[in-house]
């Protein structure tokens, strides 16, 4: 179909800038995109009949990585300290 209707994973790498220009970057658009991403993750990994710890564990691991990214500016000073 047309470029604007394809999902992110179906877009080819060369078409990525064109695809990005068709997306809605207003606050409502971003919020809607975040909501869509969360509900597709939730429906695929957590909202299943026989789910296990994997769905939540992936979410928590992602949260740890995100927190690491948020704190990186602070953590990078720890690497070469002489006295901890």
């Amino acid at each position: 179909g047309p470029l604007s209707e394809q999902r992110l994973m179906d877009v080819r790498l060369g078409q990525l800038p064109a695809w990005l220009s068709t997306r809605d970057f207003s606050p409502q658009g971003l919020l809607g995109g975040a909501q869509k991403a969360w509900s597709s993750y939730y429906d695929k990994y957590i909202n299943v009949k026989r789910g296990g710890p994997a769905g939540i564990s992936m979410l928590l691991a992602g949260y740890c990585l995100l927190s690491y990214g948020w704190n990186y500016q602070h953590i990078k000073h720890h690497r070469w300290r002489t006295y901890h």
Binding site: W38, Y42, I46, N47, V48, K49, R50, G51, G52, G55, I56, L59, L60, Y63, C64, S67, Y68, W70, N71, H74, I75, H77, H78, R81, H84
Partner: protein
């Protein structure tokens, strides 16, 4: 840049914008909202079971009038539990280590219990200031003491939660630093410290859950006194 031990408690920020709100709201993601199905998924079932358990346990000693507090006490319990437990993951931020947040939780709720008691049954609430059977001579002193202990409750609630979590996180950071630093120098001592760290982490998980429970339990106790 001043690197102190307490730097781990500074809220995360991107380009100067504080992410405190995001870190505080993250536990909401882990609690799926119930849909119309009777049994939707295992996480929802687990959540419903747990919520029913704590609500039932909490509401048993309270009388009918205080059952309207069920929603706020249960949600407070789950909120604190999740925030405390999430703070034990590496690099995460624990909002309950900030005294400001704990006081913001403790003070209004305690004050609400006090006002409920004073509005609906003022003599009984004031009567709590004097325990039964005290000798007559001691009455003035005891009333002063009981008033002070009443007024210090919100402070105690907030500071208890803050201090327990902050101390736990600090200990974990110190002992893990010791383990990592000792590893190239004295591996045997490093293994010992690693065992201590393991035991401490188990303790911290327990403390996280217990502190949330104690906070809500004491609030429900104050409510019980006043309704």
């Amino acid at each position: 840049m001043n690197l102190t031990l307490f730097d781990q408690f500074s809220p995360p920020s991107i380009l100067g914008v504080s992410l405190l709100l995001l870190a505080t709201l993250f536990p909401a993601l882990l609690l799926p909202s119930p849909n119309n199905r009777w049994i939707s998924n295992r996480l929802s079932t687990l959540q419903s079971w747990f919520l029913l358990l704590i609500t039932k346990q909490m509401m048993i000693p309270l009388n009918k009038n205080s059952h309207k507090w069920a929603a706020i006490l249960t949600s407070l319990m789950v909120f604190l539990l999740l925030i405390n437990l999430l703070g034990l993951l590496p690099y995460t931020f624990t909002p309950t280590t900030q005294l400001s947040m704990n006081m913001a939780l403790a003070f209004p709720l305690w004050f609400a219990t006090l006002l409920t008691g004073l509005r609906n049954q003022p003599s009984i609430s004031l009567g709590h200031l004097l325990p039964e059977g005290t000798p007559t001579l001691l009455i003035p002193a005891l009333i002063v003491i009981e008033t002070i202990s009443l007024l210090i409750r919100p402070l105690a609630l907030g500071v208890r939660l803050t201090a327990n979590l902050t101390a736990g996180h600090l200990l974990i950071q110190l002992i893990s630093t010791a383990t990592a630093t000792l590893l190239p120098i004295m591996p045997a001592v490093s293994v010992l410290t690693a065992i201590i760290l393991f035991l401490l982490t188990i303790l911290e998980v327990a403390v996280a859950m217990i502190q949330a429970y104690v906070f809500v339990l004491l609030l429900s106790l104050y409510l019980q006194e006043n309704t």
